[in-house]
Amino acid sequence: MEVNVKEYKHCVLVTIQGRVDSATAPKLNEVFEDLLNRGRFKIVVDMSNVEYMSSAGFRVLLSAQRACRRYHRGEVVLALVPPRVLEALDLAGFTKIFRRFDNLLDAIGYF
């Protein structure tokens, strides 16, 4: 798994590549923790290159969403979620918790 962060004025774009499981999820969590510690609460996650994500990855997204939405200071939104990952997110009831976009421009423009 590789994670890239690009900071814009109004939001941050987090791009995840590869497979997120119990082995790699802690690294993703560190990226979110760092952003939250620096007061960045408006986050777009580009999921287009996520090959696989287990519940370990879902928990990281959930905890980031909870922190960002606190005091209405921001939100985590998901962009370009691959079909298999989306099916699993839906089973877990996560599609109700995350706003989703089909392209990056709309996702970034949301903030």
Partner: protein, 146 residues
Amino acid sequence: MSVGGDIFSLQRSWPARFDFLDEIRTFVGQAAERAGFSEQAVYAIQMATDEACSNVIEHAYRGESGNIEICVDWDGLQLTITLQDTARHSFDMKKIAQPDVNAPLSKRKAGGLGIYLMKKLMDEVQYLPSPQGNTLILRKRKEKAV
């Protein structure tokens, strides 16, 4: 080889560590492909096995070293994945609260999600604790050809 026609049985053992999950998913994924499951079902089987192994590593071994032995059996109708560990701790799935997947964000709990997904992704999940360790059996029937 006729896809899905041959019956087969495969067995391998891995150290109970998260960094082997990738190899484990590849192993069961290749078996599911050989059995002729759809891409969607292959992903489901890989994810359920990952969730099962993650639970064994986290809740049964709890940082202790050990192995997870995985048997994959295809009988022409269903794929059976049997996970066997020799951990001292059991993890009674019935005691783990089922997450409320309809709860709003403020009330969502992170625990129990792996087991919940495992049950949703497979047709049958059976857990058999014993003094020698835990056995977890996951079954997925072949969907009818469209």
